[in-house]
Homo-oligomer: 108 residues x 2
Amino acid sequence: MAKDLNQVIVAIADPTRRAIVGRLARGPARISDIAAPFPMSLTGFCKHVRVLERAGLVRRTHRGRENTLELTAEPLREVARWVSQYERFWNARLDRLEEFFAAKKEKS
Amino acid sequence: MAKDLNQVIVAIADPTRRAIVGRLARGPARISDIAAPFPMSLTGFCKHVRVLERAGLVRRTHRGRENTLELTAEPLREVARWVSQYERFWNARLDRLEEFFAAKKEKS
């Protein structure tokens, strides 16, 4: 489990791979269509796809002569869970503000 | 901004560094105390700390003869924001189940 989480996090640490995830969130598409807007070779692009595949974030389907990719976003759930443990740290300042106003209201 | 997000995500892609973040969530501590339970040299440990520092996730304070570390979790907010865009994908199955029961209730 921890090993997979590492893999998933490494997969999303790259802006190209995050962009691929973002593109696939709009629906499955052919690899060449997804690759087109990226300023890199198809070989380079496919390396990124393989990292996403190994992390379980995309699924490749053979449809006719070309591969189709679709998003399988569930592994991101573990990342969300890990990160959400620390929400209270960035909410802390907001909470202190709320407490301040609640205390003020009680007094008046 | 995107560059920083990459750095933050790379920083949390390692289980030792996630464990350090988890430890510091309980409060600031001296580096040697945080390092003690980890099965590695202090030099190896300090390399991880530097990755976290560069990502803005921990802050080092010189207090007396030893460095103290504290968590500065705010950079994780951007990670949480990015990941939360995809929540609907892992909630989708749950939603379909809810719709099914809502439709059933309406009929009866």
